[in-house]
Amino acid sequence: MSADADTSALDVQGYSLRYRSADGQFDALKSIDLTVRRGRTLGLVGESGSGKTSLAWAIMRYLPANAQELSGTLLLAGEDLRTKTTRQILEIRGARVSMVFQDPSTSLNPIMRLGDQLAEVLIRHRGLSARAAFEEGTALLARTGIRSPAEMMRRYPHQASGGEKQRVVIATAIACNPDLIIFDEPTTALDIVTARQILDLFTTLREETGVAALYISHDLGLVSRIAHEVAVIHQGEIVEQGPCAEVFRAPRRAYTRALLAAVPDPAHRIGTPPPDPATPPLLTLANINVRYGELPWLLRLLRPGQAVVQGARNVSFDVRPGELVGVVGESGSGKSTIAKVLAGLQEFSGSVAFAGQRYQGRRAFDRAYRHAVQIVFQNPDASLNPRQTVATILSRPLKLYGTVPPLRIPARIAELLARVRLPAQFAARYPHQLSGGEKQRVAIARAFAAEPKLVICDEITSSLDVSVQASVAELLVELQRETGTACVFITHDLNLVRQLAHRIAVMQHGELVDLFDTADATLPDRAAYTRTLLDAVPTLARIENGVVP
C-alpha cells in the first residue's frame, strides 16, 4: 500500500494514539494503516468509541492535551503532518485538509452570516479580496445546489434549513480544492430525505473535483453506496480493509460479518406473527389534534397573529392487542407528539379509547391507563435518573402499581434483569456505569415491569450503535412474544421498522399520510411521500444486487 504513496492523498502508517486520564491509559488507536488514494473515497466504519473520530482529529492535528501519539506517520500527499509546526498546520487546515462535521447547526457560528463564514476561508487561504471572495463563495454555493446562492450568502444560520446549512459547510470544505476532505457522519443529524440529497451532492462533487475523501460513519448501508474502499475499525484497530464491494459481499472477519448482520434488512422479518385482524382494537386514536404555542386569551389579545404550530392534525389509527405499529416520518413530522399524547405528557383534543375506556384530553387519563401504557424514551442517558440505582429504578413501577408483593420485589428485579439479558449484579449499579445499550435495556425493563398492555417506543434505537440497535430490537420482539404486549414503535429507520412492525403509519407535517400492512410497503399504490421515504433509505441489499458506485 505504501508503495504508491505518491498517488495517495492520505497515507496513515502504524499510527497509535493513547489518552491518559485519571484512571489510567486508554489506547484509542492501535497501529492504524490506511490509505486514501487521490480521487477515491475511503469509508471508515465503526461503532461509537471505536476511535474513528480520534483518527479524524489526529489528521486535523487537533488533539486534546491528554493525547499521546506513540508511533506512526500521517502523510498528507507525501508530507508527514506530525513534523509540521503549528504555523504550518494553520496553513494546511482548511486549505489542504478540511472537515465536514456531523451537525451543521453547531458547526456554523450562529452570529455570522453564512456568506462571511464561507468567504473567510477564501480570504484566509486563497488571498482573495472580500469582494472576490463573496463572488467565489456565491459560485461555490451554486455548485452545491443552493437555488438562490447570493441570497443564501446574506443569511444567518438560523434562517437556513439543516440541509442548506450542511451544503454551506460542504462548500466551505471544497473552497480551497483540498487534498482531502474528512466527512464525520455528515448526514446523521439530517432527516432521511435531506440526507439522501446531501449524499447525492457528495457523489456529484466528488466526480467534478476529484477530491479524496475520508468518510466516517457508523451506517454500513450508507457507506456501501458512496465509498470505493472500506476500512472497518473496532476498538482502535482496523480489522478489515479493502474494496467496498469485496468487503460487503464477502467479509473475512467475524466482526465485519456481525456488523453486516446487524444492519436492518427489510426482507428479513423478526417481528411476531400478526394478530388476528378480527380482534377488536386495544387502542383507538380518533381525530387527535395538538397545537403548540397556543397563548392564553389575554396574550392572544395582545399579540394577534402569533403563529400556532400544529403538532398533530386529525390523527386517527388503532392498535390491536399484541400488535406492533410502526410510526415513521422525518423530524418534525409529529411522530413524537403522538408518543407524548399517548404517554399523557401532552395536552390534546380528540379522543383516545383504550381497553373499552374513552379519554378526552390529558387530564382524563387515570391510574389504570397510566399503568397499562408505558413509554420508553429515545435517549437512555436522559430517561434514567442518574441518582438512582438500577434496582431503585426498576422497583418503582413495582411499588407504584403493586404488581408484586413488597417482599417479592428483589426477586422480581432479578427476573426483569434476566429477561432483558443483563446480569443480576447490575441491580446495584448506577446508570452512568452502564453502556448505552445496557441503559436502554434497563429502560425497557422498567416499562415491562409494570406489566403493561401497550408500550410506546419513541426512537428507542436511534441513539444506539448498529449492532446494539439490532439486539435491542430483537429483545423488544422477544418480550412482545412472551407477554403479548402491543407496541407503538416510533422511528425514522424504515428498514428497521419493516423488520418489526405489522402495520406502518407514515406521518408528515403532523398528518397521517399513509397506513398500510408492512407486507404492502413496496406496492405501487403507496402515498407519494411514503415512496420518497422508501427510496431515500440506503439499504445494503442494493450493493448485493450489483449497484456499486
Binding site: 485519571a22 484512571d23 392564553p296 404517554a343 399523557g344 405528557l345 387519563f365 391510574r367 397510566r370 399503568h371 408505558q374 413509554i375 424514551f377 429515545q378 435517549n379 436522559a382 430517561s383 434514567l384 435518573n385 442518574p386 441518582r387 438512582q388 418503582r396 413501577p397 407504584l400 448506577y430 452512568h432 456505569q433 422498567r446 409494570a450
Partner: protein
C-alpha cells in the same frame, strides 16, 4: 464521606470546618483568659507568650475572645443561611415544578425583592423588628430567600424537562415523589454550593449589623463586632482587626471548599471516576 476527603479542596475545607467546629464546642474551655477582662497595661499589643494573638484596645486577650466568639458568629451564619435556603428552596422548587402563571407571579414578586440589596433589605427588616441577634438572623434569612428561590427554580427548570421526570409523570407518580425523589436530588448541587457560599455572606452581614448597632451588642465576642470595634485602632495595631478578619475569612473558605467537595460527592458520575 471518604470521597470528600480524597480531593485536596475537600480535605482542606473539612479540616477548616473541623477547626471551626472545635472552636465552637471547646472554645470557652480552651480560652486562657476571661474574654471580657481588661488588661490596661497590655493594650493593643502584638502576639507574645502571654497573649498568643495579641490584645485589643482594652487589653482584652484576642485569642480568648476569638474562641468565645466562634459560637455566636458561625451559628449566626449557619442559622440564617439554613432558614433562608429552606424557605427559598421551597418557594423556588414549587414555582419551578408547578410552572404556568403561578410560577410567573411568584418570580415577578421575587425579582422585585432581588432588586433591593441584601444589606439594605436586612436593615429594613431589622428596623421594623428591632435590634438583636435573633431578629438579625431572621432578617438575613428573609433577605436570602429571593436569591435562593431563583437558584432553586433554575436548577429545577433544567431538570423538569429531563426524560426521567417525564417518565415519572407518565407513570402517574405523585407530585411529592417527583419533587422529592426525581427532581431534588438532581437539583440539590447548585443549591448546596450556593448555600455554603452564603454562610460566609451571612457572617459578614451579621458583622455589619453588629457594627451598625443592630445585631450583636458589645461586649459580645461576635467576630464581626470585634472587627468593627477595633477599626479605629487598625493603624496602631493591625492585629486587633486582622485576627477576627482572618478567622472570618478562614471559616468562609472552609464552608466554600467543603461545599464544592460536597457537590462532587453528591454526583455519582464524579464519585466513581
Amino acid at each position: 464521606m471518604r470521597d470528600l476527603l480524597r480531593s485536596p479542596a475537600g480535605l482542606v475545607g473539612t479540616c477548616l470546618l473541623l477547626l471551626v467546629g472545635a472552636m465552637m464546642v471547646l472554645g470557652p474551655l480552651l480560652a486562657p483568659y476571661d474574654p471580657q477582662s481588661f488588661h490596661p497595661r497590655a493594650r493593643l499589643q502584638g502576639p507574645s507568650l502571654a497573649h498568643l494573638l495579641g490584645t485589643d484596645q482594652f487589653g482584652r486577650d484576642l485569642l480568648s475572645r476569638l474562641l468565645h466568639g466562634a459560637r455566636n458568629t458561625v451559628a449566626f451564619g449557619l442559622g440564617a443561611t439554613a432558614l433562608g435556603v429552606i424557605i427559598g428552596s421551597i418557594i423556588g422548587v414549587t414555582a419551578g415544578v408547578i410552572g404556568g402563571w403561578i410560577d410567573s407571579a411568584i418570580m415577578r414578586v421575587l425579582d422585585g425583592l432581588l432588586a433591593v440589596p441584601d444589606l439594605l433589605f436586612t436593615l429594613l427588616i431589622v428596623t421594623m423588628l428591632g435590634a438583636g441577634m435573633g431578629y438579625a438572623m431572621l432578617a438575613v434569612s428573609v433577605a436570602f430567600t429571593p436569591g435562593m428561590a431563583r437558584i432553586a427554580r433554575s436548577a429545577v427548570l433544567s431538570i423538569r424537562t429531563r426524560e426521567y421526570v417525564l417518565a415519572a409523570i407518565a407513570r402517574g407518580e405523585s407530585w411529592g415523589w417527583i419533587i422529592g425523589r426525581e427532581v431534588l436530588p438532581n437539583a440539590i448541587g447548585p443549591i448546596v454550593v450556593e448555600a455554603t457560599i452564603r454562610v460566609s455572606f451571612a457572617m459578614m452581614i451579621g458583622a455589619t449589623l453588629g457594627f451598625l448597632g443592630l445585631g450583636a451588642q458589645p461586649p459580645s465576642t461576635e467576630w464581626g463586632l470585634m472587627v468593627a470595634e477595633a477599626r479605629q485602632f487598625m493603624f496602631r495595631s493591625p492585629w486587633c482587626v486582622a485576627v477576627p478578619g482572618v478567622a472570618i475569612a478562614l471559616a468562609a473558605l472552609g464552608f466554600n471548599l467543603f461545599g464544592d467537595a460536597l457537590r462532587d460527592s453528591f454526583d455519582p458520575r464524579r464519585r466513581l471516576r
